[in-house]
């Protein structure tokens, strides 16, 4: 079987989730163009509050007459940005930690891994709730850092394992025999081998973090009003969910789509990068 025939199926399976994720990104970026109304404007808080979906307000209006459709579009920016940046932070910290442990080896590696076990034993959601509750309305930047700095443990483990596997291969020895420095060995020779596993981890991580951020915001510990993420919008509508369902249903649905899209992309990437299909 030719290489292209073997690769085409998993690669084709990437198209749909990629398109979906790209569409979400475009919607978030183009929010100012796509929004029919200003998401912050309260045109008439008496006559226009709690309007059910209509042509001028496809997702209805909220308690202070703001257009929910526009708020969901702008909320996409916040939700997706928070998730992406915090995952980027997690990937950076996790890669450095895992790579350092693998390079150092011996006792340093053992201690770093035990420390990781301790960190992994703390439940992330409880930790996040405790910190943000004590903090009293953290700003969005801190939320991103908080999510990132509690999300890298898995990355560190995966990177360490992958690094150890690569460090045992002969090309590493050959590069050292050629006089390549450690830093260069990592960035030029080893990092490309980490890209597949990092790509899978990034997409699955973003999916997880979107849900996590929505949950935190829903509980009032995440993104703080007036900035709106999908979780914040849902939280604001939660008290009237039985009568004004559109306030929770639409941002909830948006969250669902984003989480499913990112998970789908992660699964498809994993199929493409499955170890038995990566040329030796």
């Amino acid at each position: 079987m030719s290489a292209s025939a073997r690769w085409s199926r998993p690669k084709r399976a990437l198209i749909a989730p990629l398109v979906l994720v790209a569409a979400l990104a475009v919607v978030a970026l183009a929010a100012p163009i796509l929004s029919p109304h200003d998401p912050r404007v309260q045109p008439d808080i008496v006559a226009l509050k709690y309007q059910s979906p209509s042509l001028s307000h496809p997702f209805g209006t909220d308690a202070v007459s703001r257009d929910v459709f526009s708020r969901v579009l702008y909320g996409a920016r916040v939700s997706l940005t928070v998730a992406s940046i915090s995952v980027a932070v997690a990937l950076l910290v996790g890669t450095c930690y895992g790579a350092f442990a693998a390079f150092a080896g011996g006792a340093i590696d053992r201690w770093l891994m035990r420390a990781l076990d301790v960190l992994l034993s703390l439940p992330r959601v409880l930790l996040l709730l405790a910190v943000s509750a004590l903090w009293n309305r953290p700003s969005t930047i801190w939320l991103v850092l908080l999510l990132g700095l509690t999300g890298w443990y898995g990355v560190a483990r995966v990177v360490r394992t992958q690094m150890l596997a690569q460090l045992g291969r002969e090309y590493v020895l050959a590069a050292q025999a050629a006089g390549v420095r450690r830093g260069r060995l990592f960035t030029r020779h080893l990092l490309p081998h980490l890209v597949p596993v990092l790509a899978v981890y990034a997409s699955l991580g973003v999916a997880h973090t979107i849900g996590l951020e929505a949950g935190l915001s829903f509980l009032g510990f995440g993104v703080q009003p007036p900035t709106a993420s999908w979780g914040t919008i849902m939280q604001e509508g939660s008290s009237v969910a039985s009568t004004s369902w559109w306030l929770t249903a639409f941002p909830g649905f948006a969250t669902l789509i984003a989480v499913v899209a990112c998970n789908w992309l992660g699964d498809a990437l994993r199929d493409v990068f499955a170890p038995e299909q990566v040329p030796a």
């Binding site: 080896g105 090309y171 590069a175 050292q176 025999a177 050629a178 006089g179 020779h189 490309p192 040329p279």
Partner: protein, 350 residues
């Protein structure tokens, strides 16, 4: 071979001022399970002169490759070079040299060619990048100059269409071409010593001959010394000026190539020579040495070869022979050198 500006700065070699490489009492050990220690290399001494070709011969598992890796201080952990060992390269004590200075020697003044180019080349980098990298890490050459000298080097190692090949990945090349790439990487900075660890074992016979020819040609051109590790005595006859035979972590015989083929003094060398199939010889079966190399945690007492030796007698059990002089520059680690009357019959044929 390389343009002047890409050539690294280094003092001109002083020819004739002692050996280029002097390995003295090299011991390399690996912790094995249960507190046991595997002495993979156990007191190996040899020298290599400037421009000389020395072959290191022995079966798998006798310590050849570990010896080679120790020369660049690249013994994979947890293995280590034990104290008391000495490796001097062009007057420098490699075992006490700071890491950064050692790094400047690796790939620049002493380079290595690996056995299996498919695994020794990084699959995610183009071969041109990997050759150019050697230039980049050791000289002040720009990215472009390094690339150009890589392409020039590919021409020199006999790769057609080098500018195109340089942009390809290792898996796009044939085995022979990959080994040529490895050679290009090792030789681009014209090192004084090249260590080639079974460079032709993974290749077809016809390609083997081409690669050996290429090595000989490049050696004549640059005047480098070559330490060729092999278990193929045909390669030895073709390439070596001097041969070191290793068995079970020790040097068992050392001789100029003619002396070795004419007058092999250690039964192990004798066995290796007898195992070469000969054209036209009246042989229905190939000759072999019975048994295998014992594991390095269980070297036998006395002579390490005695369990496989047809001539072994009581002294071989109790006393390990020293490396004794057989002729000029010819030494063997065998009691038979002193007691030739014990050599009865021929090496066992199975």
């Amino acid at each position: 071979m390389t343009s002047p500006q890409t050539r690294s700065q280094r003092p001109a070699p002083v020819v004739g001022s002692g050996p280029l490489l002097d390995v003295h009492a090299l011991h390399v050990s690996f912790p094995a399970g249960g507190g046991a220690i595997a002495r993979a290399v156990d007191g190996v001494s040899f020298t290599i002169a400037h421009g000389e070709t020395v072959c290191l011969v022995g079966e798998s598992g006798c310590g050849k490759s570990v010896t080679a890796l120790s020369l660049l201080r690249l013994v994979p952990p947890p293995g280590r070079i034990d104290s008391g060992s000495g490796i001097h390269f062009d007057g420098l004590d490699l075992l006490t040299l700071p890491d950064e200075q050692l790094r400047r020697i690796r790939g620049n003044r002493m380079a290595m060619i690996f056995q299996e180019p498919m695994t020794a080349l990084n699959p995610v980098l183009t071969v041109g990048d990997q050759i150019a990298e050697v230039v980049r890490v050791h000289t002040k050459a720009s990215r472009r100059e390094a690339w150009e000298s890589a392409v020039a080097m590919l021409t020199l190692v006999g790769i057609a269409d080098p500018a195109v090949r340089a942009k390809q990945y290792p898996h796009e090349l044939s085995g022979g071409m990959r080994q040529r790439v490895m050679i290009a990487m090792a030789l681009i900075l014209e090192p004084q010593l090249v260590i080639a660890d079974e460079p032709t074992t993974a290749l077809d016979v016809t390609i083997q001959a081409q690669i050996l020819e290429l090595l000989r040609e490049l050696k004549a051109r640059t005047g480098m010394a070559l330490l060729l590790i092999t278990h193929d005595l045909g390669v030895v006859a073709e390439m070596a000026s001097r041969v070191i035979v290793m068995y079970a972590g020790r040097v068992v015989e050392e001789a100029p190539v003619e002396a070795l083929f004419a007058n092999a003094s250690h039964p192990y060398t004798e066995g290796l020579l007898a195992a070469i199939p000969r054209l036209g010889a009246d042989q229905s079966r190939l000759t072999t040495i019975p048994g295998t190399v014992p594991p390095p945690t269980e070297w036998p007492t006395g002579c390490r070869f005695r369990e496989r030796c047809a001539y072994a007698f009581d002294r071989c059990v109790t006393e390990e022979p020293a490396l004794v002089q057989v002729g000029s520059a010819h030494r063997a680690r065998c009691h038979l050198v002193q007691e030739p009357e014990r050599r009865t019959g021929t090496v066992s044929i199975t």
